[in-house]
């Protein structure tokens, strides 16, 4: 039951292709993780799926609809949410305003979702009137994920959510992501911390030079000798 998939994607920024014939897929209630060495095109895959760069070949399917030609804004309306790696909060706005901005497109009452987010990230409730720019890296990341969740997305995409946060915060963040997954959201994560990410992944995709190298369940990749040798440090 694949919910969101990118099939045979080839794309780049003008010159050479960064990714070629790359395929990624994720189902509802599952976490798919993209790992790979630096410059493998992990973030580019994410941007291609979101529509921030044009595909040369291939297509993007969301819930059975071909959305390859749609703008990122339209995809957001369709239920895709994205947490960028950098600059992922409105630094000059309060935590609460950040979350409200996430729900910008919604016309219904957002109170309930807001409370759910505060339940998921209690620290945000404490700091709801503080400027997001004054928070620590881990708290900011929580704001960023919270903002994305405010749209009540069916597919959540996270670009290196644990970059630059301490190991303790990282574990906690991953736990929250599992909780979100359990509500039936399809989650796609690009990660540097390959071992921890694969440990929570239902599906794993190892990317090398913009191509699928190995794919499989998270645990099968963790026990795969080649993957261990090349990416997990033995």
């Amino acid at each position: 039951m694949t919910y969101l998939s990118g099939k045979d994607m080839t794309a780049g920024y003008g010159g050479a292709d960064i990714i070629s014939n790359c395929s990624i897929e994720v189902s509802k209630g599952e976490i798919a993780v993209i790992v790979g060495p630096n410059g493998a095109g992990k973030s580019t895959v994410m941007k291609a799926i979101l529509g921030m760069i044009k595909l040369k070949t291939g297509k993007i399917i969301l819930d059975g609809n071909n959305i390859t030609k749609e703008s990122p804004q339209l995809r957001v309306r369709r239920g895709m949410a994205f947490v960028p790696q950098n600059k992922n909060v409105f630094t000059g706005m309060t935590v609460q305003e950040n979350l409200e901005m996430g729900a910008h497109l919604r016309e219904d009452d957002i109170k309930e979702t807001l409370n759910q987010i505060y339940e998921l990230f209690p620290v945000l409730k404490e700091k709801k009137l503080q400027l997001a720019g004054e928070l620590s890296g881990g708290q900011r990341q929580q704001v960023a994920v919270g903002r994305a969740m405010m749209t009540k997305p069916s597919a959540l995409m996270l670009d290196e959510p644990t970059a630059g946060v301490s190991p303790i915060v990282m574990d906690e963040l991953f736990e929250r992501i599992i909780e979100i997954k359990n509500t039936g959201v399809a989650i796609l994560i690009v990660e540097q911390n390959a071992r921890q990410a694969l440990a929570i992944a239902d599906q794993g995709f190892v990317l090398v030079n913009g191509q699928n190298k190995i794919s499989g369940t998270g645990s099968s990749l963790l026990s795969n000798n080649e993957v261990r040798r090349s990416f997990l440090g033995g």
Binding site: P72, R77, G92, M101, H104
Partner: protein, 340 residues
Amino acid sequence: MTYLIDVINALALLSNFVIIPAIAYGSQLALGALGITLVFGILRFANFSHGDLMAFGTMITILITWLFQSYGLTLGVFPTALIALPFAIIITALFCVLIEKTVYRFYRLQKSPPVILLIASIGVMFIINAIVRVTIGPNDRRFFDGEKFIIKAGQFKEITGLNEGIAIKSTQVLTLIVTIITLLLLFWFLQKTRTGKSMRAFSDNEDLALLSGVNPDKIVLITWILAAALATIAGTLYGLDKSFKPFTYFMILLPIFASAIVGGIGSPIGAVVGGYVIAFSEITLTYAYKKFFIYLLPENLSPTGMVQLLSTDYKFAISFIILVVVLVLRPSGIFRGKTL
């Protein structure tokens, strides 16, 4: 006792010639600087046509005022321009939207760097400048009617028995009241409304705002409408308080830019504070303090010169110097501007 009266006289003198005029002038600069800051916060370029936009808005106010006056429609003690103002705001806003659609939109869609938009705005400045001069002429025009003073200097002297009078012009009070109302409305809009928040979000982090579903065309349109409204209000208040002359409105661009930058360009509160900083600096530095010191100092120490730090001819130099000093010492301005 007589010395106390001397001190009160000195303070009355200072209020009359420095404090009250500076508050009025500062309010006008603040409103102008807010327009610059809004455009910068959203569109990320310094809009050089803002001074002439103020002239355009004021010109429309004047034309409508004349129209009303020709029908015999006046506001009694208040200037007729007050009823003309809302109509002038609407027309100037439409004019701004027209410029956005015909000029700026093209560069925006091309994602041109800010400097190209800035140069385009200089072109727009010349065009508006020409439109204004062709329509209403380059001469000085006074369009104030109604009661000129709330308190005349003579009346004040009579009531208080002081040597120095404080004259309060109705345009000064009007400027202050209109400025306060405008600021309250604008800050309420930016802080509390959905559209205002999305404007701040867009200014803060454009990509993330787009990802949140903010419609950039709507934001840009509202920005121009607000800029037009602020320019028209600022220009009309300035014109009522002094007089309307297209060239003066071109020159006022410098103190307005200085206000926006001193406060921290992109920060609305900064623009307001900057406006008053520039106004008070200009007036305190060019005022001749001779009489003030005659009241305060014993007779044998009375100054013989004018005790004027700078001639009023240099008033623009003051904005310029403050601008340079701020850019060197604290480039982000008092309020560390960048976003709304």
